[in-house]
């Protein structure tokens, strides 16, 4: 279990995650293509998703199947009968001025309820509810919101199927919120229902309270990356209020991504009344036991079982297996490499250690790099057969991630092949000794100075000298000079 030092009062965080079901070909209630990204505005619309007079919604039954699969993966209980409700409010991104959703207040029956996700090797975050709803359109500004002359509306996204996943306030830190979301994303990606790498496909609202304090909602967190940042800000804000002895009001705040602060959206008194009532144009969704069992039988492997399998099949550590399976693309990459490489433990260290930290530094997803499993394995083989050193390997990895070149070519082109030519290195050693007489003198009694001389030799070869050989040559030369 992850242990965090909590110097102050405990934090409770609950999340409301909206995931587009990106595997669906069409929107939730019409036949428009749901693959709207990179399209001209308002080209993925039809009379139904535009809510034109007289049109009626027809449920995409595949969305219900997706929801059931998610429910099973999150260990939830699937309802046998559930209704769509209208959530009424005026906003220009909603063509009908109501959203077809499900009733999230007391008495409402979601598609599924009462499940959990296991994070950090055993801790459970309870999931209270899973429901289906339609995505609104998108407001677009020319330039920035301040300079734009008008607000434009793009309805391509309007009506795309969203799964809303709501947790209990079981999350105890902003970092844990990020870990939870990573796990959730991996589960959805393993199910193949939602691809988190698509921009805006996973969004999240959070509620956060400091022990004994009031619950504050933070809306408009547009990506999982932002969640930790927004929650950290809000946690600090609340703590400093408490320190000053001020009361935290129940309110809804908005995460301003640019300024990286949360600002008040509305206080409780102004809370909106959505006038929910059952959608009369749709019939109740009936889910039979057979439907559920059929889907359960067709469930793909999920992160937790994959983790266990990776440990057994490849003998890698639990930590590595967990990191790998928290990110489906990474797990897939690992297995693709491992199929052609005989030292999976070493491989997993490289992926979990070096590769992941380069990705983090570059701010990229694995698929955004040009790295292929073949090249990864190729690089490791170059190390194994002594062509390059491990240190050079790191350089090669960085380069092939960006260029997509084969590692052998990179090594050749940049002349990175390890130098094991004894005669050549002896000549260079002579030079090092000539240029560093003081260090040579010290080296007779000081081990540090020996390492300095080896370092100088490595430097002359730009790190390509076989380090073992360099070590031997320096020591031999020292013995020789001592013997004089």
């Amino acid at each position: 279990m992850h242990v965090e030092t909590v110097p102050e009062l405990k934090v409770k965080i609950g999340l409301e995650v909206h995931c587009q079901l990106t595997n669906l070909k069409s929107k939730l209630f019409c036949s428009c293509s749901a693959d709207y990204r990179d399209s001209e505005p308002n080209t993925h619309i039809c009379p139904v998703c535009m809510g034109m007079p007289g049109t009626l919604p027809v449920l995409n039954r595949k969305a219900v199947e997706d929801a059931i699969m998610i429910a099973l993966a999150l260990n939830m209980q699937v309802s046998s009968r559930t209704l769509f409700y209208r959530k009424n409010y005026f906003y220009p991104d909603m063509p009908k001025n109501f959203q077809i959703s499900q009733y999230d207040r007391a008495g409402g029956v979601p598609i599924a309820k009462d499940g959990y996700v296991t994070i950090d090797g055993g801790r459970k975050v309870r999931i209270s509810r899973l429901q289906l709803e339609e995505d609104p359109g998108k407001l677009v500004y020319e330039g920035t919101i301040e300079t734009s002359k008008a607000t434009l509306v793009d309805y391509n996204r309007a009506g795309v199927a969203l799964a809303e996943i709501v947790t209990e306030p079981d999350i105890t830190s902003p970092r844990e919120a990020r870990i939870f979301l990573q796990k959730l994303r991996s589960i959805l990606e393993h199910l193949g229902v939602s691809s988190g790498e698509l921009e805006g496909s996973m969004r999240c609202d959070a509620n956060i309270s400091i022990e004994g304090g009031t619950r504050v909602e933070v809306k408009n967190i547009s990506s999982f990356k932002e969640v930790e940042r927004a929650l950290n800000f809000e946690m600090t804000r609340q703590r400093s209020l408490i320190r000053k002895g001020l009361r935290i009001g129940r309110e809804t705040r908005h995460w301003d991504e640019l300024r990286r602060v949360t600002v008040t959206l509305r206080v409780k008194e102004e809370e909106e009344d959505y006038r929910y009532f059952p959608e009369p144009d749709l019939v109740p969704i009936l889910i039979s036991r057979e439907d559920v069992e059929r889907l359960r039988a067709s469930m793909p492997e999920l992160p937790d079982s994959r983790k266990r399998r990776l440990m057994e099949q490849y003998g890698i550590s639990m930590q590595n297996a967990e990191v790998l399976t928290d990110n489906k693309a990474l797990a897939e990459f690992f297995e693709a490499c491992a199929a052609n490489y005989s030292r999976p433990d070493l491989l997993s260290n490289w992926i979990v250690g070096d590769l992941l930290s380069y990705l983090y530094d570059m701010g990229l997803e694995l698929r955004e790099t040009k790295l292929t499993p073949q090249h990864m394995v190729g690089m490791l083989r170059l190390i194994d057969d002594g062509t390059i050193s491990g240190k050079i390997g790191k350089e090669v990895l960085k380069e092939i991630m960006v260029t997509g070149e084969a590692p052998e070519n990179v090594v050749k082109a940049r002349g990175l092949i390890r130098i094991s030519d004894r005669e050549y290195l002896e000549r260079l050693t002579d030079r090092v000794f000539e240029e560093n007489p003081k260090a040579v003198k010290d080296a007779l009694k000081d081990e540090k100075a020996v390492r300095f001389l080896v370092g100088q030799l490595m430097k002359l070869t730009e790190g390509k000298a076989d380090p073992q050989l360099a070590n031997i040559l320096v020591r031999n030369r020292l013995k020789a000079s001592a013997g004089k």
Binding site: P47, M50, G51, M52, P53, G54, T55, L56, P57, V58, L59, R86, N88, F90, P92, P95, K96, N97, F98, T151, V153, D273, R275, Y276, F277, P280, D281, L282, V283
Partner: protein, 486 residues
């Protein structure tokens, strides 16, 4: 007036198929009649003469070539202006949609066209079907063909009046709480509200989704049956559409009511029922008894709450359905929009909607609001359930329920405009069928001082066949002297 205009649909189809008359001649006569009668009654908001004549010639040429034509070949149909017609403006008799031209046909329109019916125009109605007199149209009222100082009923007043005055042979209306049966009764024609889900609502501009059905109007029971057989049946675009094929009601045009058990609910002959109406309806019931039906009075206690339940549900749904009319994407929009979106929405809606529509949106919004939802909307739904249960019990002992369609005779224009409640009360006998989702028909049964009176029959779900059989028998056995004044 040429006799062809008085013929039932089946006769017109027969005559055009044997080329006794051309569709073009007949449709031209319809428009001649419209030019004479409509300035007096104002049944139409939009005429589609060019389109109709083009269609007529096209059907004629197919007949001349010996090709197959549909079951409604050439028949002139008037369509209520809340049913979407591709390329033809569909206004809901509202300023809000004055210039709205749908890019799609309602399913019923597709089906009519597939059977070679000819749409002659779009008919007047109460704005967004909210009213019982067609006085609430933003484009002026329709007048009763039997008395031009009186209302034709509503909200499908234009559809009923156009058929009653021989401007069209049949028409489509929509019935949310009696909106087809009421004007059918007031205009002396037949109107059938089908079982909920039997006719697709795709393309019907919603007022109250859970209550309404597109419904045919004709001068004869046979005509209504013919149109039903064409427009009914499952539609994948309407999730509430039931999974059955089209009806075959024409095969139930049978003159036989022996053994039919009629129930007469006391509650539907309430204190507001005019004596002439009550007498006329009993006259029809007695006629049926004379022909072999049995009859018994029955009490349905839940019906006392039907009207209140109906209005709460209808207004609640309406308040949400009509939210989409904000002027942003289509419909009425004020030029001056130098303000934020929310102010623009308010202005467009303030100017675009009439007073009755605004009243119902406000009441519906109120009924759905937090703190009132349980007290109004939920309670109304509970009453609805009770009514359904009570009706299904009653239908164990009776085949049909008989009652007046309207408790009163057609009234004078403006008479009930001042007091909305008085207007709402007129729906007391019709709303039950919508709440319960059961079929109901209104057919002329009598007249009083030249004004038509309608009798209503309600049947269990999907028993339109019984309604057709009893109505047909009654039609054959009542000698009514009904002559419109236009």
């Amino acid at each position: 007036m040429p006799r062809i205009l008085e013929l039932p649909a089946s006769e017109i189809v027969r005559k055009v198929k044997v080329q006794e008359i051309s569709v073009e001649e007949y449709i031209s006569e319809c428009f001649e009649r419209i030019r004479t009668a409509d300035p007096k009654i104002h049944a139409f908001l939009t005429l589609t003469e060019d389109y109709a004549l083009m269609r007529a010639r096209e059907i004629d040429s197919r007949i001349r070539r010996g090709e197959k034509v549909g079951s409604l070949a050439g028949v002139a149909v008037a369509v209520k202006d809340n049913i979407c017609t591709m390329g033809v403006r569909t206004t809901c008799a509202s300023k809000m949609l004055e210039s709205f031209i749908p890019i799609y046909d309602a399913t019923v329109i597709e089906r009519l066209k597939a059977q070679d019916a000819v749409i002659v125009g779009k008919t007047n109605m109460d704005e967004f079907a909210m009213g019982s007199s067609t006085e609430q149209s933003a484009f002026g009222p329709t007048l009763n063909p039997y008395d031009l100082e009186r209302v034709p009923g509503g909200s499908s007043g234009g559809s009923a009046a156009s058929v009653a005055s021989f401007e069209a042979t049949v028409s489509l209306g929509s019935d949310t709480g009696g909106s087809v049966r009421c004007p059918a009764s007031f205009c002396g024609v037949v109107g059938l509200k089908p079982t909920y889900g039997l006719v697709s609502r795709y393309g019907l501009i919603a007022f109250a989704n859970s209550l309404e059905q597109i419904s045919p109007i004709g001068r004869t029971v046979a005509d209504v049956a013919t149109v039903m057989d064409c427009i009914s049946g499952h539609d994948s675009r309407d999730s509430t559409s039931v999974n059955t094929g089209p009806t075959s009601l024409r095969s139930h045009l049978i003159e036989d009511v022996s053994g039919i058990r009629l129930g007469v609910p006391k509650e539907l002959f309430g204190e507001g029922t005019e004596e002439a109406v009550s007498k006329g309806v009993w006259n029809a019931i007695n006629r049926l008894i004379g022909l072999g039906a049995t009859c018994e009075e029955v009490s349905l206690h839940s019906l006392k709450y039907a009207l209140a339940s109906y209005y709460i549900i209808a207004m609640s749904e309406a308040s949400s359905n009509l939210a989409r009319y904000d002027g942003l994407r289509y419909g009425f929009r004020l030029e001056d929009d130098d303000c934020d979106w929310s102010e623009a929405y308010s202005r467009n809606r303030r100017e675009g909607f009439g007073p009755e529509v605004k009243r119902r949106i406000m009441l519906g919004t109120y009924a759905l609001s937090a703190g009132y939802y349980n007290q109004y909307y939920l309670r109304a739904q509970r009453v609805r359930t009770l009514i359904r249960q009570e009706l299904s019990r009653v239908f164990k002992n009776f085949d049909l329920l008989a009652s007046p369609t309207m408790p009163i005779l057609p009234y004078r224009l403006g008479e009930k405009l001042r007091d909305p409640l008085e207007m709402y009360m007129c729906d007391v006998d019709t709303v039950t069928a919508n709440l319960a989702g059961i079929p109901a028909v209104s057919i002329p049964c009598s007249s009083h001082q030249g004004l038509p009176i309608g009798v209503q029959f309600m049947a269990p779900p999907f028993r339109e066949d019984l309604l057709i059989r009893v109505s047909y028998t009654l039609e054959k056995n009542l000698e009514l002297d009904l002559k419109p004044a236009v």
